[in-house]
């Protein structure tokens, strides 16, 4: 039975996502104790003493870079699992991609953190780089598998965006995102290698206001921005599939997403040779990607309202009935609401800062501007993480009251934290340094309470799944069976999708 559980955890899509979410949860829980109020409360010292971490002050930047990469590649792995789970592809492709990226992210995580936080055994640094290389190689395999111009992936259903020949534009959007991600990963990797494997570490936020940045510094700035953006593009596409995004909005959104992704990526790479105009290119691409996201949200909310009203037997409801229908499933609503909320914390803040940069923000000391920079991308990362959790909680079979509680706590607690973080970032707009302590206390408290609630509800969820693994006939056995992995291997040319959430791919794909 142990083999079967191993089979579930490392071969099924749901099991693989579960392991990756668990790994990120563990890292977040432990490494989250090393900064902010945890330092003030003495928790950091206790953790350091307990685990034997070696936090050399001069190496903080390098440690943080290792930690960011560790978490980022694991998030990428989750997205890859979800993509291989919802898009049709050959079974051997799926197996190779998932297997390679699993070994890759685990190697990156284990040896990266070991190297960074527990002494410097350079063999571990080598293994960390090897892990990153495997993740990259898995990306190449994914890109090959996603090739949208194979006839078997053409769509016939006119409801979905496609070319005249039948090329699935959504698949092309996934493909574009994957190619852009590979190029952008190289953009950082080549730079890191050139810089002695990153041993002269620096944080990009420490470069602000430097009038003369080197080519390598600009490349790193471009790399980190585009990687997070592409992770965002990927999750938007995945959520679109979850909702079975189709219709007129789909036909506008997909070309926008493809072109927008290409433009943003080009803009981020153009930071090196054309820093001055790169931002304008990025703005252009962002508009298209954000519009694409908006169309997805409009489609999703309409669908939620329509389905909710239909469940109640109402043909055309009033505003309150519509609102109730929209909010009845916090997981589905939450995944798209976070995309809307993201604009208040990230997009609008970013635009405002860009527009008023010299007039307001560059009048402040650099450390204040740095808080905005680090704050807004931490919030964006965390928002993406919550969207993944909404989807995964649904995949994991959360139902009834547990679904309601998990969903609403995740929405409210995370948004309280993100909202407070945004107020904290922008506090200088409305309070002076001498008078800021009450607002700092309040926002820090809200951030901590919000994040603590998110982590608690996530911990409860993970414990539920852990307990389930100890059951002989737990949910895991059903999930294994759902993906057809409880029997002998299937035909290598099967085009089914393990998560079964893509009617387009299952019913309407030409074979």
């Amino acid at each position: 039975m142990l083999t079967k559980r191993f089979h579930f955890l490392f071969q099924s899509t749901k099991g693989l996502v579960l392991v990756a979410v668990a790994m990120i949860s563990l890292v977040t829980a432990l490494w989250g104790m090393l900064s902010g109020p945890m330092v003030e409360w003495g928790v950091t010292d206790a953790i350091v003493n307990l685990t034997g971490m070696d936090l050399v002050p001069a190496e903080r930047e390098g440690r943080i870079i290792l930690l960011y990469h560790t978490i980022a590649v694991t998030v990428v792995a989750i997205e890859v699992y979800l993509i291989t789970g919802i898009l049709p592809m050959r079974d051997h492709e799926r197996t190779m991609i998932n297997g390679t990226i699993t070994v890759g992210y685990l190697t990156t995580m284990i040896f990266g953190l070991w190297f960074g936080y527990f002494g410097h055994n350079f063999v571990f640094h080598g293994l960390y780089l090897f892990g990153l290389s495997l993740v990259f190689f898995a990306g190449i395999l994914l890109t090959i598998a996603l090739w949208p111009f194979r006839k078997e992936y053409y769509v016939k259903d006119p409801a979905y965006a496609h070319t005249r020949r039948g090329v699935d534009l959504e698949r092309l959007a996934f493909f574009t995102m994957a190619v852009a991600t590979l190029g952008s990963a190289l953009f950082g990797a080549v730079t890191g290698s050139f810089w002695g494997s990153g041993h002269e570490a620096f944080l990009a936020e420490d470069l602000i206001r430097e009038p003369h940045k080197t080519t390598l510094q600009l490349a790193i700035i471009g790399h980190l921005h585009i990687m997070l953006t592409l992770i965002g593009v990927a999750i938007a596409l995945i959520i679109g599939r979850w909702f079975d995004f189709k219709g007129p909005l789909h036909k506008i959104a997909m070309p926008f997403m493809i072109i927008g992704t290409l433009i943003i990526t080009f803009g981020a790479w153009a930071v090196v040779p054309f820093e001055t105009i790169a931002h304008y290119i990025i703005y252009g691409g962002s508009v298209l990607v954000l519009l694409s996201g908006l169309f997805l949200v409009i489609f999703a909310w309409r669908k939620l309202i329509r389905d909710g009203l239909a469940e109640k037997g109402i043909e055309k409801g009033n505003f309150v009935q519509g609102l109730k229908a929209l909010l009845r499933d916090p997981l589905r609503f939450g995944s798209t609401w976070q995309m809307v909320f993201m604009n208040f914390n990230v997009s609008f803040v970013g635009i405002f800062v860009a527009v008023k940069l010299d007039e307001i923000f560059r009048v402040w000391p650099a450390r204040e501007e740095r808080i905005i920079l680090t704050g807004h991308w931490h919030v964006l990362s965390a928002i993406i993480a919550t969207i993944i959790l909404f989807y995964y909680a649904d995949l994991a079979g959360l139902k009834g009251r547990a679904r309601q509680i998990f969903g609403w706590v995740l929405i409210i607690a995370s948004d309280v934290a993100f909202g407070a973080a945004t107020v904290f970032e922008m506090k200088r707009l409305f309070v002076s340094e001498a008078e800021q302590q009450p607002i700092v206390n309040m926002t820090m408290l809200l951030i901590e309470i919000g994040l603590a609630l998110v982590l608690i509800i996530l911990a409860v969820f993970m414990v539920w799944r852990l307990v389930d693994l100890f059951k002989r006939k737990g949910r895991w056995t059903a999930e294994l069976a759902e993906e057809g992995l409880d029997t002998l291997p299937k035909s290598p040319i099967s085009l089914t999708t393990p998560l079964g959430s893509n009617p387009k791919s299952e019913a309407e794909v030409q074979s």
Binding site: P57, D206, R209, P211, P365, E433, N441
Partner: protein, 303 residues
């Protein structure tokens, strides 16, 4: 269940109500004589040292002296009286202003022109200022005589140093004075503890009174003495300077091509401990003032 959920939602609101506003530092000055003389200067000999996060070997090929502590309110008040009398500065619209010959302007992106003009040094109506002005004479507020001079612009800091026969340190001079030659990350050594310096949430006695943001500590406070039961660790830099990490950021004198910003070093009472590492930089417009920014001066031996 619904009621529990509602209470959970309301919890942050109650928590906010419990977050009491900080008391104004001016209402609760604690006076301590640290025994460190702010008039003292330390010699930094010529030679090589390791600069920055990546230990770049750097040579300073001349000896220089640097103030053992940051400039205090009492010192700055004396300077204002002398400089006013000498006509080096003047008071215009409740501001002390002085002439600055301007920076070379290169027209870089985001660069702002700092033209030759009278620029503000301090604002007399600034609630954070710890100086008094009775219309004729400046003096330090009671209890703040040996605290760092804050709420002073880069122009005001530069003017003080030049009037008293010195200048603001360059970033390299400042870092060498803070770090010595052994590559240490903090002025006093390799680790940071709350008893080493005044930084955010370092639990010093001022934080107990005015909240986590705290207040400036008297210059040279972290010298191994015990103050009202608060035991400090003697934390000088290798050359015997105090407060090179924490308490207040310190203006430096460099002007870089293409940027109008002026750089600060050392971290302050409002920053987490890692910001006190000797290579950490901050910068702002030269007319920026803050309760967390002060300065110290350098001079060449014999000047």
């Amino acid at each position: 269940m619904k009621r529990t959920f509602l209470w959970l939602l309301l919890l942050p609101v109650f928590a906010i109500g419990c977050a009491a506003p900080a008391t104004s530092p001016a209402e609760s000055p604690l006076t301590f004589d640290t025994g460190i003389n702010p008039e003292g200067w330390a010699l930094v000999p010529a030679g090589e040292f390791l600069r920055g996060l990546h230990d770049l070997e750097t040579v300073v090929d001349y000896d220089y002296e640097i103030m053992i502590t940051t400039v205090t309110n009492a010192q700055y008040a004396n300077y204002l009286n002398e400089a006013l009398a000498a006509g080096a500065i003047k008071i215009v619209d409740d501001q002390v202003v002085g002439y600055y010959p301007g920076d070379e302007f290169h027209g870089y992106r985001h660069e702002e022109e700092i033209a030759a003009d009278d620029w503000p040094h301090i604002s007399l109506d600034d609630p954070g200022l710890r100086l008094r002005y009775d219309g004729k004479t400046f003096s330090a507020m009671n209890g703040y005589e040996n605290r760092p001079m804050v709420q002073v612009t880069w122009f005001g800091a530069r003017s003080y140093c030049e009037f008293t026969g010195g200048r603001l340190p360059t970033e390299v001079e400042w870092e060498k004075a803070a770090r010595g030659t052994d590559g240490r990350p903090f002025p006093w050594g390799h680790e940071i503890q709350p008893e080493n310096a005044n930084y955010y949430s370092s639990h010093d006695i001022f934080e107990k009174i005015v909240g986590k943001l705290g207040d400036t500590t008297p210059v040279g406070f972290y010298n191994g003495n015990t103050y009202d039961g608060f035991q400090t660790i003697d934390s000088p830099s290798p050359y015997g300077l105090y407060d090179m990490g924490g308490n207040v950021w310190q203006w430096t004198g460099d002007i870089y091509e293409g940027a109008h910003y002026r750089y600060m070093r050392g971290g302050s009472k409002a920053d987490y401990g890692y910001n006190l590492r000797v290579w950490t930089r901050n910068n702002s417009h030269p007319d920026y003032v803050s309760p967390n920014v002060g300065f110290r001066c350098v001079r060449l031996p014999g000047d």
